[in-house]
């Protein structure tokens, strides 16, 4: 196992001075580029050959050609080119498989972040930087949507483009930002918290990361397709998406497949890591709640994600192969799409929320200097949400035309979910009660999360009640609710997590003043942008429209102006991250005086995390308990820790 090796054993691949041959044939972005083209060509050739052989005319039909060459085979070529499959290919062909050379492990220069790397810490950073890129891209699309909505009338974009803007915005934010950003944070932190040297399957971990840029670029590039980007909303309802859309629609179908495959692989990796790689003494009841959160999230991902994969395949088959999964003319059932889609996408709401709950438990406990209140109930309520989460999907379909008897049972389960969620909120409140509160940036975002998530949760209870849902569903009220939950909820926790672990990841402190400025700009801008949408929605303004009744004009102008302010807050965040990463003050190992294991090693941690496997002896949240310890590290290490300035 890799645990016995240390940083000195690394044999990093020699720098590419071996001439053009190595550069062109060795794993890397250059080989990725030409293999992308090569495999794309092969896919193109296969389709042409089959159509020619079967004399199907026209031989050059756009949909199957684009699907097979650009959306399937070319990305596989890219992955092979950058070397994501090298080890397995060597192994399968019987070559020496270089199992323990660790050439792809750890980062010594910025170049190591641009290749296939098996170090969970490098992969975590790759995830975060990539997802923040897509966060910015998705945010720009949102601002364009708000520009169009500032005044009534169709003003800047034709309608297909406008529908594409909000569809790609949502798809990027969900599949390329929130879900993978949590995966990135957990990738970095979970093995450290467990006292493990890495994830259980480091090569699979590297592969899961490299699927993401493929998915994101696929979704963005749909704007360049004839007929424009996919424009049926991120929900991609049949029959609009499966039959009545230009070719851009299959870029969504396939993009979701790549992102979904990435999610499933990561989740399997987390499950195996958490179950099998806990340090001695790390029982399940001693796991930090972040680990619990990712354990439960991974269960959700593994069980639910295949359903969205199915729904997108069927939709794409209807589009390209003229099957009739959802086409009523051929015996298909359009509502079937929604049932399958929401059977994933409702649990996905918790996939986007539970890891945030985990981050909150860490941050709130550390910055309140108190043990987390009701630890076991906190972990059990996560499990309750997982179970209940699979029984509520049709609350997205109260007005869809599904069997009407289904509404009341789905309402009851939906309302019941408020109970474990409420337990978590009240337990966090009890944790800060009588604590010693340090209002650093992560804590500000945590408190911001608590207040915003309560509003989002309460509007969720309103939506759970069928009569209210009938009035406000498909209106701006839904837009407000989802942003209170996903922005005020998930994104705030992502920011909290980024600030909290920034010193650990980069070895430098972020700028506290800019961090607080970022929080306040975001908090105020967020509320000014999204709160008024509740009112627009109850008054009857539909969502997903470019034009609206003139009476909604003033409020929409206000929202658009506020949204630009919210956009500016992101600039502060970026400036802080970039300058602090480059020039920030050197971070101590444990700037927050936290007890969890990741803070007991240097910042950033050594390549294999722990020189000696830690022995876990207690709970991770024993603040205020004299002499309590979470884990015992090697003696030399422990002494070093005591001297760390706070």
């Amino acid at each position: 196992m890799t645990t016995t090796a240390s940083a000195q054993d690394l044999q990093h691949a020699p720098s590419p001075t071996g001439g053009w041959r190595r550069l062109l044939l060795g794993p890397g972005l250059l080989r990725g580029a030409w293999m992308f083209v090569l495999f794309g060509g092969i896919g193109f050739g296969i389709v042409v050959l089959i159509r020619w052989g079967a004399s199907w005319h026209p031989i050059l039909l756009t949909e199957p050609l684009v699907l097979v060459s650009a959306l399937v085979s070319a990305p596989v070529g890219f992955l092979a080119g950058i070397g994501a499959f090298d080890y397995w290919v060597y192994y399968a062909l019987g070559y020496p498989s270089r199992a323990e050379d660790h050439s792809g492990h750890g980062a010594q220069s910025w170049r190591d972040y641009f290749r296939v790397n098996t170090d969970h810490k490098v992969i975590g950073v790759q995830y975060l930087v990539t997802t923040i890129f897509f966060f910015l891209a998705g945010g720009m699309l949102a601002l364009l949507v708000r520009a169009e909505l500032a005044k009534p009338g169709i003003r800047y974009f034709d309608q297909q483009t406008y529908n594409g803007l909000f569809s790609v915005h949502a798809a990027l934010m969900i599949f390329l930002f929130i879900i993978p950003a949590f995966a990135g944070l957990a990738n970095y932190v979970v093995p450290l918290m467990l006292g493990a040297a890495d994830m259980a399957f480091p090569r699979l971990n590297a592969l899961s990361f490299w699927l993401l840029p493929i998915a994101g670029i696929m979704m963005l590039s749909s704007f360049a397709m004839p007929g424009g980007a996919f424009a049926c909303g991120w929900t991609g309802y049949a029959t609009l998406c499966s039959q009545h859309q230009p070719i851009g629609a299959i870029f969504f179908n396939q993009g979701v497949q790549w992102a979904g495959a990435s999610s499933i692989m990561t989740a399997l990796n987390f499950l195996v890591t958490i179950i099998t790689m806990r340090a001695p003494g790390m029982t399940f009841w001693r796991l930090p709640l972040l680990v619990w959160a990712n354990f439960t999230t991974s269960l959700l991902v593994v069980i639910a994600t295949p359903f969205i994969a199915g729904s997108q395949f069927f939709s794409m088959f209807d589009h390209v192969m003229h099957t009739s999964f959802f086409n009523p003319v051929g015996g298909g059932y359009p509502l079937g799409y929604q049932h399958i889609f929401w059977f994933y996408s409702h649990p996905a709401v918790y996939i986007m929320m539970l890891p945030g709950f985990g981050i909150m438990s860490e941050v709130i406990s550390v910055f309140s200097r108190k043990p987390i209140f009701g630890y076991r109930l906190m972990a059990l309520s996560l499990m309750a949400i997982v179970v209940l989460g699979f029984s509520v999907w049709a609350h997205h379909m109260f007005v869809s035309g599904m069997s009407s008897w289904l509404r009341v049972p789905m309402m009851v389960t939906t309302l019941l979910i408020a109970i474990p969620t409420g337990i978590k909120i009240f337990s966090w409140l009890a944790t800060i009660w009588e604590g010693k509160l340090h209002l650093r940036t992560p804590m500000l975002f945590a408190l911001g999360f608590l207040s915003m998530f309560v509003i989002g949760g309460l509007s969720g209870v309103m939506l759970g009640a069928v009569p209210i849902d009938i009035h406000v569903s498909q209106t701006d009220f839904i837009v407000a609710h989802i942003h209170y939950v996903l922005f005020g909820g998930s994104v705030f926790t992502i920011f909290a997590g980024i600030y909290y672990w920034f010193p650990k990841m980069t070895g430098r402190m972020y700028n506290e003043t800019l961090g607080k400025l970022h929080f306040w700009l975001t908090f105020v801008g967020f509320n000014l942008t999204f709160f008024p949408m509740h009112i627009l929605g109850t008054e009857g303004m539909p969502r997903r429209v470019a034009d609206y009744l003139p009476k909604f004009g003033d409020l929409n102008m206000f929202i658009s102006l506020a949204s630009f302010g919210l956009g500016i807050s992101t600039v502060v965040f970026l400036y802080n991250m970039i300058t602090s990463w480059r020039f920030g003050e050197i971070a101590p190992a444990n700037p927050w005086r936290a007890m969890t294991l990741e803070w007991q090693v240097s910042s950033p941690p050594p390549t294999f995390n722990f020189d000696e496997i830690p022995q876990v002896v207690g709970s991770p949240y024993e603040y205020g308990v004299p002499g309590a310890q979470h884990a015992v590290l090697a003696p030399s290490k422990a002494r070093e820790m005591e001297e760390v300035p706070v």
Binding site: Y162, T239, H244, I423, L439, E539
Partner: protein, 359 residues
């Protein structure tokens, strides 16, 4: 807990609850209701809002109090008291939310069943939705059709809704009712209007290019006025039903009118104007090609004008004007229009195209 902190907490909760109540009361949230259903839904809405304000006030008070009272200086290295939990508290905040959500569920279920209960003399209206227009027809009155939803006040109405292409939705904010219209299914929507007036009726399910503009109206009339409207329509339209404009002599006009008048009627009744520009019909849609330029399009497609216009209606994908897309225009007008309607609208389009072409 000390007495002082309880008083402070109560004060903060009152302030937070007061602010939240003000936010709930000052702006207009729900539109003024115009149906029995809307009244009951508004009741549910305010009932749940009251519970929400209660919870919000507690959370806000605890949080604000904690931030003010328990905040420490950066250089304070002390830890808080090691409280690990409190079984009584944990049971309390499991049980109280349970009671509250049970109450919400019961109220909602009662409202739902009352709202869906049909009266004996329920009026049936058939709704057909397609990109990007609604057609309402009245099967009890010889299938009279109308592009707007005409309803009698005070009578229970059941809409039976069909979609021809993609999923649409029918929503009238003042009625507080909404239901999707799904291809391959007949979905139902029940409403009992209680207020006279004209209300916006919107498609709220994203249905493609023209979704933003897929709107109609619901008009609530006195029952007597509604009946006489229905009779007049029945008389004037006759089979096949298509007419929406009425005039005292409309029985005569439908047979003797010039092709252009009949064609204009078909043009308006089928929602062509929502996507196309045509000066003869005062239409200004921009989703599809500008029909004032039909002469030049036909030249470009290399087809005689009349055959080109006919083909473009029944088989819109046969020729696509550069700059526009396939599969946007419904391809079922060949089935939905009768032979005489099709002839009329083709004649009308050819006539007006030649006029504007000669300009």
């Amino acid at each position: 807990m000390r007495r002082g902190s309880i008083v402070a907490l109560l004060g903060l909760a009152l302030i937070a609850g007061g602010v939240a109540t003000a936010v709930a009361l000052v702006p207009t949230w729900l539109p003024e209701d115009a149906s029995q259903q809307a009244g009951r839904i508004a009741f549910t809405f305010w009932f749940v809002i009251a519970i929400c304000i209660f919870i919000f006030a507690i959370v806000a008070a605890v949080m604000v109090y904690a931030v003010i009272r328990f905040r420490v200086r950066e250089d304070d290295f002390e830890d808080g008291p090691p409280i690990h939990g409190h079984t009584g508290l944990e049971i309390t905040w499991t049980i109280i939310p349970f009671i509250l959500v049970t109450a919400i569920a019961i109220v909602s279920a009662i409202v739902l069943s009352r709202n869906d209960a049909q009266a004996k003399d329920t009026l049936r209206v058939d709704v057909t939705a397609q990109q990007f227009e609604f057609t309402f027809s009245y099967p009890d009155a010889g299938n009279v059709t109308s592009p707007v939803l005409m309803l009698p006040k005070g009578r229970s109405v059941e809409l039976y809704m069909r979609a021809l292409d993609v999923i649409h939705s029918v929503f009238v904010p003042q009625f507080s009712v909404k239901e999707d219209v799904v291809p391959g299914l007949v979905t139902q929507l029940h409403v009992t209007p209680t207020r006279l007036g004209t209300f916006p009726l919107e498609c709220t399910e994203l249905c493609g290019l023209g979704h933003s503009l897929m709107r109609s109206q619901a008009v609530v009339m006195e029952p007597a006025a509604f009946d006489s409207w229905l009779k007049k329509q029945e008389k004037s339209a006759g089979p096949p039903p298509s007419s929406t404009t009425t005039s005292p002599t409309s029985t005569a006009t439908s047979t003797t009118s010039t092709p252009s008048a009949a064609g204009l009627t078909v043009f308006n009744a089928n929602g062509c104007a929502s996507c196309h520009t045509l000066s003869a019909a005062n239409a200004t849609g921009t989703i599809g090609p500008d029909l004032d330029n039909l002469v030049s399009y036909a030249k470009k497609a290399n087809r005689p004008l009349e055959a080109f216009v006919r083909e473009s209606i029944v088989d819109p994908n046969a020729y696509i004007q550069p700059g526009y897309q396939k599969n946007v225009m419904p391809d079922n007008f060949g089935q939905t229009l009768t032979k005489s309607q099709l002839d009329a609208v083709v004649g009308f389009l050819v006539q007006s195209a030649q006029k504007s072409g000669n300009k």
